[in-house]
Structure formats: structure tokens, C-alpha cells
């Protein structure tokens, strides 16, 4: 019968997602950063490739360098995730949302479904574009990679997966903190400030701690040549998913218990 289902809630959340400008702007910025910064990085490498030292040339990864823009785009997708939930609190519309769908977990699952489906499509398209664009810039001067290689294909795909997971991390932080500025600050701190704090630790600690940082996991996911002291691509993916799962479960638990 005509009852609220996960499908109807998801459809409603899709309408809400696409009818605010911040979502569209967020994805435009994601695309511009991934492509634009990727093009800048690859052009710069091409420019001084001949003067680069031999060790750097030896460990050079044409895939992860062409996907370098994701390290900037990750903030844009994070903000999309944060805003998808915190804008409901800042405007007060969360009450209307829960009045329409009293099963709050259903709202969380519906929002996640919308956020993940849209982000994964945009992110995968843009990482493939950035990869191909980067290889074209490298061509003739710098060694290039081909999607015919399984490791290369995996790295590019995981680049899009990385961005998608970070969007859900932003969403999870928004669930817990309910306030846009707080959630964005924590998100940025996790990606930027934590590595700086780790940097002041003794060298032996740094090596073991650094590889657990979200940005290092992202680097590991997008690398064809396993970088030193880093996890393999699949382990890194699982670890990152684990972090986000913890944040989402905490956020959903709070959402159900707290007054709206």
C-alpha cells in the first residue's frame, strides 16, 4: 500500500539533493580540481622530467601523479557530504524530514544511497578523464601507463572510490556534529592537521603511524608501485571503509537517540 518505504524515502532524498545549488557547485568544483590540478601536476613533471634525479625517476608513478587532483577534490566531496545533512539542521528542515519519515535509520540509508550513487559516478568519470589527460600530457617525454594493465585500471578505479568514501566520511561527521562549520573543520583536520601532528613524532613512530592516515590510505589506493611503508591498495581501501563505518554507526546511533 501507500506507505513510506526505503525506496520512496530515497527518491525524496534524491529530489532534495539535486534541488539545492550547493550540491551542483560541489560537483563542479570536484571536477575542476581533479582535472585542473591533475593537468598542472603532469605538465610540471613533464617540464622537468629530464632534470629529475634517477631515484625519483625510478619510483615514478604515472597513475597516482595524474590523479593528484583528488587530494584537492577530496575537500569538495567532503563538503557535499557534510552539507547534505547539516543543512537540514541549520534550516530546521530535519523536523519536516523526520515527520515525513519517522524511521530515522531509513533517512540515513536513503541519504547515503543518494550521496554514494551520485558521487561514485561523478568521481569515476572524472578520475578516468584526469588519468587519460595526464597520460596524453606525459606522452613522448615521461613514461606513461595504460588501462590495459590490471594494476593501472585498479588504481584509477580506486581513485574514484577514494573520493566517494570521503564524501560519506563528511556525511558521517555531519551526522555526529550537526553543524556545518564544526563538521568541515574536523574533516579538514583529519586530512591536513593530523599529518602535521604526526610529523613532530620521532621518525620510527612516524613510519608506523603515517600509513594509517586517511590521506596516506588514499595515496596507497591510487598507486601502482606500492610506496614504501604503505599498505597495499586493498588493505588501504578496507581500512578507510572501516574508519567511515565507525563514524557512520556513531552518527546514526546519535541521530536515533537525540531529539530532533
Amino acid at each position: 500500500m501507500d506507505r513510506v518505504t526505503l525506496a520512496s524515502t530515497t527518491h525524496a532524498e534524491w529530489i532534495k539533493f539535486r534541488t539545492v545549488r550547493s550540491t551542483i557547485m560541489g560537483y563542479i568544483v570536484t571536477i575542476l580540481l581533479t582535472r585542473g590540478i591533475g593537468a598542472l601536476i603532469t605538465t610540471a613533471i613533464r617540464g622537468h622530467w629530464r632534470t629529475m634525479n634517477p631515484l625519483d625517476r625510478l619510483t615514478f608513478d604515472p597513475v597516482s601523479t595524474s590523479l593528484g587532483g583528488t587530494l584537492f577534490a577530496q575537500f569538495a566531496v567532503g563538503v557535499i557530504g557534510v552539507l547534505f545533512i547539516t543543512s537540514e539542521y541549520s534550516s530546521g528542515s530535519i523536523r519536516t524530514t523526520f515527520a515525513a519519515t519517522p524511521r530515522r535509520i531509513q533517512v540515513v540509508v536513503a541519504k547515503l544511497a543518494v550521496l554514494i550513487s551520485v558521487t561514485v559516478v561523478v568521481a569515476e568519470v572524472v578520475v578516468f578523464v584526469a588519468f587519460l589527460l595526464g597520460q596524453r600530457i606525459y606522452e613522448g617525454v615521461v613514461p606513461t601507463a595504460s588501462l590495459a594493465s590490471g594494476a593501472v585500471l585498479r588504481s584509477v578505479i580506486l581513485g574514484g572510490v577514494y573520493l566517494t568514501i570521503l564524501a560519506t566520511l563528511g556525511f558521517g561527521l555531519g551526522l555526529i556534529l550537526r553543524q556545518q562549520s564544526a563538521a568541515i573543520s574536523v574533516f579538514t583536520s583529519l586530512l591536513l592537521i593530523v599529518p602535521i601532528i604526526v610529523f613532530v613524532l620521532p621518525q620510527s613512530w612516524q613510519d608506523s603511524v603515517t600509513r594509517y592516515e586517511p590521506s596516506s590510505l588514499g595515496h596507497a589506493m591510487m598507486s601502482t608501485t606500492a610506496p614504501l611503508n604503505m599498505f597495499g591498495p586493498w588493505t588501504a581501501t578496507l581500512l578507510l571503509l572501516g574508519y567511515v563505518a565507525v563514524v557512520l554507526v556513531a552518527g546514526a546511533t546519535l541521530l536515533v537517540r537525540r531529539d530532533a
Binding site: M1, D2, R3, V4, S8, T9, H11, A12, E13, I15, K16, T19, V20, R21, S22, S87, E88, S91, G92, S93, R95, T96, F98, A99, A100, T101, P102, R103, R257, D259, A260
Partner: protein, 306 residues
């Protein structure tokens, strides 16, 4: 029908609602009256399943809100008119709500037309006046054509024409047999738009009844003008009533009836020129009723601080 049973809600140190029980019947407009901060909004949020009660419960036709299958088809509510994403248009806001509860899309157009905001439906809600937001909130409440409706301070921000419209609208909803529950802190508003009134103060139930019942239950006054006000006053005061004199030669007598005043004047041989029994206004009744709750609360506070 809305039932609230022994409902209490505590936020930290504050007991916002204190053992509140009442029922709201279908077919009439029920006013929910209390001073600001008396717990009206909290009670409505608990009814809507938004805030969890500390103890007790609220049900709609016997069901908890969170167990309703398609809530917007069963309960419509206007709690906070401004609570819409400012960057979204009214049409898209209503479309998302309708979609979530599988309400046909044509209902969106119907409620937009009905509330008179169809012309601005494609404008962002952030630019709406309070009155327009209020109409959008009413449109959202009506979307599922629900038998039970809650409105929290719906008159705020409406112009006089809007207020007249909304009163007639509440009346029409009630005549259709719906349960209409409207909160306000203004007694004058309630006197004109509600059939039955529930009065609360400081989170506690004070009284429930029709406007007539509430005003009848309060002590009335008698307006009197006589040939010798001074003598009549002395006479009335010795029999334990209070008398206020006005400059226009009239006196207001409390705690007695027009019959008693007339009989006393005849016995004393004082000619009566005017004798009018006066009913307490709803406003006076409300002040009397809530004064106790306020005094009680401030007494508690002064003991705590003292």
C-alpha cells in the same frame, strides 16, 4: 484524535512538560493556550515523535507517531514555518515531501493553489516573507489530506487578511470532521478561532473546556451606578465584596451577583440607575488561571536561590 497521557519532558534541569494529560477530539478546533515557554511546542514535538518523552506518551488515533505507515497522510503539522532549506523552491520542497509518502504529485499543485502561493512556487524559500513561509508550512501540512492537523502558532506573521483566512480555514477543516489542534499564546486569538481550549502553564495542565465554560467558571463582576455610590459602597464592602470606583460615576463589584446588589440597594433605599452583570473575558480568565502557575514557579525559584 490526539491523546496525551502523563507526559513529562525534561531538558537538563528544566522540566518543560510536567505530567500533562489531555485529549483532542475530532470535529472541533481545539486551542492549545499557554504563555510563552509553557511547553506547548515541546508537547507538539513529542506528539510528532521528534522529541522523546521523559515519561508518559502521546498517541494519534491510538498509535505512536513513529509507527504510522504514511505519516503525512495521517497527520499534518506546521511546527516551524521557516524550517525549509532556503535555497530550495517551494514546489521542490513539497515535491520531496509528497514523494517520501507516495502522495500523488498533483496534490503539490492543489495545495500551492489553495494556500495562494502558486505564483511564487518556483522562487527560493529563502526570499519568502514570514507570511509566505507560513502559507508554505500550511501547504505542507495539507499535502497528505490528513485527518489530524497540528499548527504551532500559525497566526504569527500573517496579515489581517491572512488571519481571517486561516480562522475560516480551521473552522472548515473541523467541519469536515478533522482533528484540528492549534497553539497560541494569545487568548484573543483563541477566543475567536477555537471551539474548545486546553490551557497549560509551566508545563502543567490547568483546565480544558469551551470558551463559554471557561468564562462562566470565573467570577463575574457587576457594574453599578446609583444615587449614592458612597453609601452603597460602604454597604457592599461590609458584606465582604470588593468594590472599585470609576471616575464616570460607576462602580465595579466583585464576588457577588447583580441580584444581591439590587436587593441590598432597595433595602437601604438607594436608587439604582444602572446594574449590569459582566462576564469575565477569556483574557482575564487566562490571566487568573496562569497566574497561579507563574507564582508557584517563582516561589520555587526564590526558595532555591534564597
Amino acid at each position: 484524535m490526539i491523546s496525551v497521557e502523563h507526559l513529562s519532558k525534561r531538558y537538563g534541569d528544566t522540566l518543560a512538560v510536567n505530567d500533562l494529560s489531555f485529549e483532542v477530539r475530532p470535529g472541533v478546533v481545539t486551542g492549545f493556550l499557554g504563555p510563552n515557554g509553557s511547553g506547548k511546542s515541546t508537547t507538539m514535538r513529542v506528539i510528532m515523535g521528534l522529541d522523546a518523552p521523559t515519561s508518559g506518551h502521546a498517541t494519534i488515533d491510538g498509535q505512536r507517531y513513529r509507527n504510522l505507515k504514511a505519516p503525512l497522510r495521517e497527520v499534518g503539522a506546521l511546527l516551524d514555518a521557516a524550517a525549509v532549506h532556503p535555497g530550495r523552491t517551494a514546489r521542490n520542497h513539497l515535491l520531496a515531501l509528497a514523494t517520501s509518502n507516495r502522495i500523488p504529485v498533483r496534490r503539490v499543485e492543489e495545495v500551492l493553489e489553495f494556500t495562494g502561493i502558486a505564483a511564487v512556487a518556483d522562487k527560493k524559500v529563502g526570499g519568502y516573507s514570514l507570511g509566505m513561509s507560513q502559507r508554505l508550512g500550511i501547504a505542507a501540512a495539507l499535502l497528505g489530506d490528513p485527518p489530524v492537523l497540528l499548527f504551532d502558532e500559525p497566526v504569527n506573521g500573517l496579515d489581517p487578511e491572512g488571519i481571517r483566512w486561516i480562522r475560516a480555514f480551521f473552522r472548515a477543516l473541523a467541519i469536515e470532521g478533522r482533528t484540528v489542534f492549534v497553539s497560541s499564546h494569545l487568548m484573543s486569538e483563541m477566543a475567536q478561532s477555537a471551539d474548545e481550549i486546553i490551557v497549560i502553564g509551566r508545563g502543567r495542565f490547568i483546565t480544558q473546556g469551551t470558551v463559554d465554560e471557561l468564562t462562566a467558571s470565573a467570577d463575574g463582576t457587576v457594574l453599578v451606578r446609583s444615587a449614592d455610590n458612597v453609601a452603597l459602597r460602604r454597604l457592599l464592602e461590609t458584606s465582604g465584596t470588593t468594590v472599585d470606583s470609576a471616575n464616570d460615576g460607576t462602580m465595579t463589584v466583585r464576588g457577588t451577583s447583580a441580584e444581591a446588589v439590587g436587593t441590598a440597594a432597595l433595602a437601604a433605599g438607594i436608587a439604582i440607575f444602572e446594574l449590569t452583570p459582566q462576564r469575565a473575558s477569556l483574557e482575564e480568565v487566562f490571566m487568573d488561571l496562569t497566574a497561579d502557575a507563574v507564582e508557584y514557579a517563582s516561589a520555587v525559584e526564590s526558595t532555591r536561590h534564597g
